[in-house]
């Protein structure tokens, strides 16, 4: 187990290095000049050239990469061209909103989708199963912004129950924090409910056809115990995998939801940085996302041990 962990952690180093090189090169090859953007509309070419020089963008690529790589190795993601702040501070400012939204979304999704998926598998072919599959197709198909606008119109504008937009950090009180996140989390969770419910249904359906289920039922165990303790536990590996991917995707940015609900999260930061050609911020954020993906995948792999004792590392 520890060897596996050490091996996987070591493997992250080349992964992050490759990501770093690719991101650096891709940004330099993309059209757009950060200096021209920073200078503003009325600036002239001479002023833009001076700003470019000040940012170090007139130096050879290899020199620029060397400086950045050296900074990263010392734990510094550099300073944003655009926001004139440390990239680590920028990520830190936006992390709470993104993590909060991701957590609430996953909680909504898991606690809704898993029971629904199990019930659909149990009542395979029945009206509930068909209804859930119908909902699932709808959940996949409906664009997030459409759902967001519908929810805002009904819940916020017509009923006046929840705010239209904004984010309150948890330090300003739990209820203000929660009430600003409920609608965005519901909006985002719909697609994850659809996904997790389908995967749960398929996995549990497969498990229900196994011999040990027949044995459990023959032993006279109550159906709820058969479903949860035997079928769901054995179907957990693919479900956990999907949840893990979901968490990584949510941390990686949910730009549309953040835009519609005005949540200052990492997704918006990424878009702002891309639009401003803010190289240090884009590089830092992409590296951070890569690290999150690697860690989440590792945690998912490790969790298999708890769900399936046959798996050993």
């Amino acid at each position: 187990m520890y060897k596996f962990l050490a091996r996987r952690l070591l493997a992250t180093i080349p992964v992050l290095a490759i990501v770093a090189v690719l991101v650096f090169l891709m940004l330099r090859l993309t059209p757009g000049d950060p200096a021209a953007i920073l200078a503003g509309d009325a600036a002239n070419t001479e002023q833009i050239a001076k700003i470019r020089e000040g940012l170090g963008l007139d130096r050879p690529l290899i020199v620029q990469f060397g400086i950045w790589a050296k900074d990263i190795l010392s734990g510094d993601l550099g300073e944003s061209f655009y926001f004139k702040m440390k990239v680590t501070s920028l990520i830190g400012q936006r992390l709470e909103a993104t993590v909060s939204l991701a957590t609430l979304t996953i909680i909504f999704a898991v606690f809704t989708a898993v029971p629904l998926g199990v019930l659909a598998a149990w009542r395979f072919g029945g009206w509930f199963d068909r209804m859930l599959m119908g909902f699932s197709v709808m959940g996949f198909s409906i664009p997030v912004f459409v759902l967001a606008y519908i929810l805002i119109w009904i819940v916020s504008l017509k009923l006046g129950w929840l705010p239209v937009q904004g984010y309150k950090p948890i330090s300003e009180g739990f209820w203000p924090f929660l009430r600003h996140l409920i609608l965005p989390a519901i909006t985002l969770s719909v697609i994850y409910i659809a996904l997790i419910a389908r995967v749960t249904r398929a996995s549990v359906l497969e498990a229900l056809g196994e011999d040990y289920i027949r044995t459990a039922r023959a032993k006279g165990l109550p159906e709820s115990r058969v479903l949860i303790r035997h079928a769901l536990a054995n179907a957990a590996v693919p479900i956990v995998t999907v949840i893990g991917i979901g968490i990584a995707l949510l941390i990686g940015g949910v730009v549309v939801t953040e835009s519609v609900y005005a949540i200052p999260g990492l997704g918006r930061l990424t878009v702002d940085a891309v639009l401003a050609r803010d190289f240090p911020t884009i590089q830092g954020v992409i590296l951070f996302f890569s690290a999150v993906y690697v860690v989440v995948n590792l945690l998912v792999d490790l969790s298999y041990v708890f769900f399936d004792p046959r798996i050993r590392y």
């Binding site: 059209p31 757009g32 000049d33 950060p34 021209a36 953007i37 920073l38 200078a39 503003g40 509309d41 009325a42 600036a43 002239n44 070419t45 001479e46 002023q47 833009i48 001076k50 700003i51 000040g54 655009y82 926001f83 004139k84 702040m85 920028l90 400012q93 936006r94 606008y149 805002i152 119109w153 916020s156 504008l157 006046g160 705010p163 239209v164 937009q165 904004g166 984010y167 300003e172 009180g173 739990f174 209820w175 203000p176 835009s259 519609v260 609900y261 005005a262 949540i263 200052p264 918006r268 930061l269 702002d272 639009l275 401003a276 050609r277």
Partner: protein, 527 residues
């Protein structure tokens, strides 16, 4: 029983929320959704409008420009000029104080002028006249000119980027090509640096020590009275529909830039007003690249001027008739130099004439590379109209879609259009940026020296502009401005495409709006 307890707990939390200090203080907070994100906090380092607006919150200016384009004193109490108009003496108002408690002195002013003069186009032009500056007394400063200058006060009081904001000397001494790290001004608000989160919010507190002028506010002049404790700029709310939703629900008080698509519906909402804060508006403009074929040929540019009737651009981009107007002037209509003088090539032209001009111009069929920004709703339809009108006139067109930031980077390149350069882009300018021949960057025709993208070159226009800079008589300045405009139409520096007003939307309980550029936030009361 358990359910009852949970419900009771939630109710208590909800009640507690209602009576938190933040909720009680809500009526003293003005919540504004600006037109864009605020990232750069140095209004001299960049010409970005958001940085300028931030500057107006925390800094003060020596002079301002009122709604009738008249320059009026702001920090200056009195001033005088020598008979030969080469020595100007200015005395500051008493009681001017920076947010750190130190008094504003002539030394701060001189350092601020020097830094601004290195970055701003009008400031740079002014500095070519300035021999030296000094401070005979702490509250006085003098400007010694090499020769008579016709726009000294206009430059000191220019209302748009870059505005001459007065900073403490230690801040103004920072290299003009490096951003300042401190944000201390003497303006009506104090910037809360610790609460600033780019992409989220910017916070300003009322400056209790600010002494406003007695005159009513008008443009960037007059009394900057503050009637709220705190102003919050919501930088996260950038989706147009979400902005309107938030305004309707009362979660924000003012939308700085109401989308045209939402104008009619928002106007009908009884809880919302559309104050007339910036009637001078903005002007759309098509800019040629004068360095490359075919737009190195004035006859080809004339053909474009003839083809570009303003109505199709305005109808397509704005759509709401009451918000736009045709204006065959290179200076903003309704301001002192706005006039149709010399604009016949555009104002009395038609497509037939354009087609004839294309045929006789020697145009060789080079495809016209037009850069189209797909992500900037305020101008994204203009290139489509331009492409269609050019095709009708007989041009071949290569309409290239890109995001605005790519366009901004690419337009600075002087390469040939088939090697990553360009032929034409379209943009919009706020009225105050183009309302006289010095401020209007598109009329600087010093070729590659002029710097502004397109690099128009015309020596006669340069000479007329130089005369304008030296002229002090208003009547003669007006005649020179007419001559400059006529020459600019003749050589085709650029094409004005009409003007529009950017509507501001606000809750009905906000009062005290005044005519300015629409982005100034004093004198406002929240009832």
């Amino acid at each position: 029983m358990k359910l009852h307890r949970i419900a009771a707990a939630f109710s208590l939390v909800a009640l507690a929320t209602l009576f938190t200090p933040a909720a009680l203080a809500q009526d003293k907070v003005l919540r504004i959704v600006p037109h864009s994100n605020l990232a750069i906090l140095d209004p001299i380092w960049t010409t970005a409008y958001m940085s300028r607006n931030h500057g107006y919150m925390i800094y003060d200016t020596l002079f301002g420009t009122d709604e009738k384009a008249q320059v009026k004193p702001q920090m200056v109490e009195e001033w005088s000029a020598s008979p030969d108009k080469r020595l100007w003496t200015f005395k500051l108002r008493p009681g001017l104080e920076f947010h750190d408690g130190k008094p504003v002195t002539g030394e701060d002013v001189i350092a601020s002028i020097s830094r601004w003069g290195k970055r701003d186009a009008m400031g740079s032009a002014l500095m070519t006249f300035v021999d030296r500056m000094d401070t005979p007394a702490p509250d006085t400063f003098r400007i010694f000119l090499r020769e008579q200058c016709g726009f000294l006060l206009e430059a000191l009081g220019k209302p748009s980027s870059n505005v001459l904001f007065i900073m403490p000397k230690r801040m103004a001494d920072v290299d003009a090509f490096k951003q300042i790290e401190e944000h201390i001004g003497s303006g009506p608000y104090i910037f809360k640096r610790d609460e600033f989160k780019p992409g989220d919010k910017a916070v300003y507190l009322r400056n209790p020590k600010y002494v406003p002028r007695k005159e009513p506010p008008s443009g960037s002049t007059g009394g900057k009275n503050v009637y709220v404790d705190r102003v919050e700029w919501n930088l996260a709310l950038r989706d147009a529909q979400a902005q309107v939703n938030a305004l309707q629900k009362g979660e924000v008080d003012i939308l700085e830039a109401l989308a045209f698509d939402h104008y009619e519906a928002t106007k009908k909402d009884s809880s919302i007003q559309i104050p007339n804060t910036a009637p001078a508006g903005l002007q759309y403009m098509a800019r040629f690249n004068h360095l490359h074929k075919p737009f190195d040929n004035p006859k080809v540019r004339q053909a474009v001027l003839a083809a570009f009737s303003q109505q199709p651009f305005l109808q397509a981009q704005v759509g709401v008739k009451e918000l736009y107007r045709s204006c065959p002037s290179m200076f903003t209509c309704g301001t002192p130099y706005g006039s149709p003088f010399g604009s016949d090539i555009q104002s009395k032209s038609n497509m037939k004439k354009a087609q004839e001009l294309v045929k006789t111009s020697g145009y060789d069929g080079t495809p016209i590379v037009i850069m189209k920004p797909t992500d900037l709703a305020s101008i994204q339809k203009l290139p489509d109209v331009a492409a269609q009108l050019l095709r009708q006139a007989g041009f071949k067109v290569d309409l290239q879609a890109m995001d605005w930031q790519t366009l901004v980077g690419r337009r600075a390149k002087k390469d040939a259009p088939d090697k990553g350069g360009w032929h034409m882009f379209l943009t919009a300018w706020q009225a105050h940026d183009i309302w006289n021949p010095i401020a209007n960057a598109a009329m600087d025709t010093r070729g590659e020296q002029s710097g502004w993208f397109g690099w128009a070159k015309d020596d006669k226009l340069v000479e007329l502009r130089n005369q304008f800079m030296r002229e002090t008589d208003d009547g003669k300045k007006k005649k020179l401005a007419d001559a400059i405009q006529a020459r600019a139409f003749e050589v085709g520096t650029h094409v004005p495409l009409g003007e529009y007003v950017q509507p501001v939307a606000a809750r009905k309980n906000i009062s005290g709006f005044f005519v300015s550029n629409g982005n100034l936030y004093w004198n406002l009361k929240k009832n």
